[in-house]
């Protein structure tokens, strides 16, 4: 299944979408499928300065715990508190399950992310 257009992607399987200068971040369908049943989501607090490629939280499934990596540097504007209460929603609707919004984001880093077709090509190369 092709990844949705209009989003940017990382090799660590995060998606990002820009709206009015704020970047919204979540994880892809590939990521949720590999994790399996998600039971916990831990996110940094709003106001935290985050760096591209550094952890902004952890996600834990029945099988394993993984770090979440920020696709861009910036400041955490808000986090999805509701998703922390019901993290299983990430399994059923990964693209609709945003985790955090980043303000003052590094625009060059955002531009260097993969588009949907490049990400799908990358997924293909993972076999």
């Amino acid at each position: 299944m092709a990844s949705p257009e209009g989003y940017s992607y990382t090799k660590e399987h995060e998606w990002a979408k820009e709206e009015n200068g704020v970047i919204t971040v979540g994880i892809t369908d590939y990521a949720q499928n590999h994790l399996g049943d998600i039971v916990y989501l831990d996110l940094v607090e709003p106001g935290t300065e985050i760096q591209k490629g550094k952890s902004f939280g952890t996600i834990e499934s029945v099988k394993a715990a993984e770090d979440l990596y920020s696709p861009v540097s910036g400041v955490v504007d808000s986090i999805n508190e509701g998703l922390k209460e019901n993290p299983e929603k990430i399994n059923s609707d990964p693209m609709g399950s945003w985790m955090l919004k980043i303000k003052d984001a590094n625009k060059d880093e955002f531009k260097s992310m993969m588009n949907a077709s490049s990400y799908d090509e990358y997924l293909g190369s993972l076999g």
């Binding site: 399996g36 049943d37 916990y40 834990e60 029945v62 099988k63 715990a65």
Partner: protein
């Protein structure tokens, strides 16, 4: 698929939690053909088994099963097993995949002349049908009435033109059956149960959901709670340690340990905060001393908490005692508990 004691085993068929829910709420089936089956026969069979295991084989009635442990000469576990009594001189022993060759060799080495051990593992396929709707689905599929087959009892039935052996046992805490047949019939039974149970939501289940179900029920797993070093009392299965006329290895030491209480024991615990304890995570006391490691750990879908087992010193046996599990560099508080985390329908059909 992962290699499991030489078998390719599915960890999950679909969602681990969906598989889990199917067993707790209606039914699920497990391919457990990897289990080993040994026949112990002869006039000396009963005495032989009693001399190597801590539960009392001489108490078994024909058609009855019990949980038991084969002890090495130091009193540790060679394996945990179930023994099916067919008659006074014929027993069917079911052993773990990773251990049945070890059990077989141990038995062969010590068999007296008046009994024989046969490794029947290649002859038997085993399917576990588990869940509150297990009896309904199994009866609908086979046309056989299993309502008289009580918990920890077994019977042989004619089905698919062969003899199948059915026991009311399992490893999930739910009511259900373990079905032994030829490998060929096993494939048919697997497909047949999936069709018969379709409208009831039956799911094929893998090792991962099985592990959560057994841990919630506080059923020990060899290689985790059980090993060659720990006695049955230390392993938390002291309820199968019995006084006997025929002593088993380290008999006096183990009986004494049961009476006085061991210095260390496998204890269950539940996390008080979010997180999942996983195997080998370190455990600390309130003042920061290392006191053990996680033996088994999982997320309990029923309790929505992390649960696990640990081998702890006697100061920590009491339910309610606080310990700390280190999860990714954070110490998460947990409470020692007692008995099963979740009580399913297993044993509730006994008349």
């Amino acid at each position: 698929m992962v290699p499991f004691a030489g078998w390719e085993m599915p960890v999950r068929y679909a969602s681990i939690i969906e598989e889990y829910e199917s067993v707790r709420k209606h039914s699920g089936i497990f391919d457990v053909s990897h289990m080993g089956e040994l026949a112990v026969r002869g006039p000396g069979a009963k005495k032989f088994l009693d001399g190597l295991t801590c539960n009392r084989v001489s108490d078994l009635e024909n058609g009855q099963i019990h949980y038991n442990a084969v002890l090495n000469q130091a009193g540790g576990l060679v394996d945990d097993i179930t023994i099916y009594k067919i008659s006074d001189d014929d027993y069917f022993v079911v052993s773990n995949a990773s251990n049945y060759e070890k059990v077989y060799e141990y038995f062969i080495r010590l068999t007296p002349g008046d009994s024989e051990i046969v490794n029947e593992s290649d002859l038997w396929n085993q399917i576990a049908l588990q869940g509150p709707l297990a009896e309904k689905i199994f009866s609908e599929y086979t046309g056989i009435d299993f309502s008289d087959l009580n918990y920890y009892r077994f019977q042989d039935y004619e089905f698919l033109n062969e003899k199948i052996r059915v026991s009311r046992t399992g490893y999930t805490g739910e009511d259900g059956f373990e079905i032994y047949s030829s490998p060929g019939a096993g494939l048919k039974i697997w497909d047949g149960l999936l069709s018969a149970g379709k409208s009831s939501g039956i799911l094929p289940c893998g090792l991962a959901s099985r592990d959560i179900l057994r841990l919630e029920s506080m059923y020990a797993l060899y290689g985790h709670e059980l090993n060659e070093e720990r006695t049955p009392v230390e392993s938390g299965i002291g309820w199968i340690v019995k006084e006997k006329e025929i002593p088993y290895p380290q008999y006096e030491k183990i009986i004494e340990q049961k009476k006085k209480g061991p210095d260390y024991k496998v204890c269950p615990f539940i996390l008080k905060e979010n997180g999942i304890p996983r195997e080998n995570y370190d455990i600390y006391s309130e003042n920061g001393d290392p006191i053990g490691k996680v033996l088994s750990g999982a997320h309990s879908p029923t309790l929505k908490k992390g649960i696990g087992t640990a081998y702890l010193p006697s100061d920590y046996f009491r339910a309610g005692t606080t310990v700390f599990i280190e999860i990714r560099n954070k110490k998460i508080s947990a409470e020692v508990t007692k008995g099963a985390f979740v009580k399913g329908t297993a044993g509730k059909k006994t008349k």
